[in-house]
């Protein structure tokens, strides 16, 4: 799933490890989220949104992801 984690983390001048420590996960998890290989749980998304002072909707690009999912659903 596409997220704004990398963009917001770079803007906040944070390392992946620093962000991982703030949200109680491993740096590997942050790397996977940034590479769009792993979709964070609702609670992790909320924690990340809190760190960057934004909403889960904005952080996880929910509108965009919903459109992509709908398109994929219609194709099938």
């Amino acid at each position: 799933m596409k997220t704004k984690v990398k963009e917001l983390r770079t803007r906040a001048k944070m390392t992946q490890q620093q962000l991982a420590d703030l949200v109680h996960v491993s740096a590997r998890t942050i790397i996977s989220i940034e590479k769009e290989q792993y979709s964070p749980s609702l609670m992790l998304a909320y924690r990340l949104a809190e760190v960057f002072n934004t909403t889960v909707e904005d952080l996880c690009c929910l509108e965009e992801n919903k459109k992509l999912e709908d398109e994929r659903y219609e194709k099938n």
Binding site: V25, S26, R28, T29, S32
Partner: protein
């Protein structure tokens, strides 16, 4: 009441205690026999040690679950699923090859191997089904 820190050691402790009780009961019913006496004391010591570890030290599963995050859990779940799938293919393959070999060579050993593998597949299926039903009801 003390909290159980290692569930596995606790279960092992109960099983060892039951084995010890059976051994001592056999001694009482059939008269003293060295093999039952040795087994009884060995099982009793094993049970005592297991209970000690169950209440004093965290087990591997418990200590690992404290240090993993949600992605680790997800990966473990996916790896487990894949491992099960591979095991299933291996068992089916082995069973099929053994049956074919039995058909060609008429050696009873191949039939035994095929029947054993089929029994393992069936047991695996029953276990998976039971676990699935449990999680369907409890999650």
């Amino acid at each position: 009441m003390k909290r159980i820190k290692n569930t596995r050691a606790f279960i092992v402790g109960i099983i060892a205690a039951v084995i010890a009780a059976i051994c001592f009961a056999a001694n009482l019913l059939d008269g003293i026999e060295l093999r039952f006496l040795v087994s009884g004391f060995w099982a009793l010591a094993w049970s005592a040690m297991s209970f000690y570890f169950a209440f004093s030290k965290k087990g591997l599963t418990e200590s690992v679950s404290d240090s993993i995050d949600e992605r680790d859990q997800y990966i473990t779940m996916k790896s487990g699923k894949m491992a099960l799938q591979i095991l299933n293919y291996i068992l089916w393959g082995g069973g099929l090859i053994s049956s074919t070999l039995y058909g060609i060579f008429r050696q009873p050993i191949f039939m035994i191997v095929a029947a054993t593998l089929c029994a393992v597949i069936l047991t695996l299926f029953i276990i998976i089904l039971s676990v699935n039903i449990y999680y369907e009801k409890h999650n």
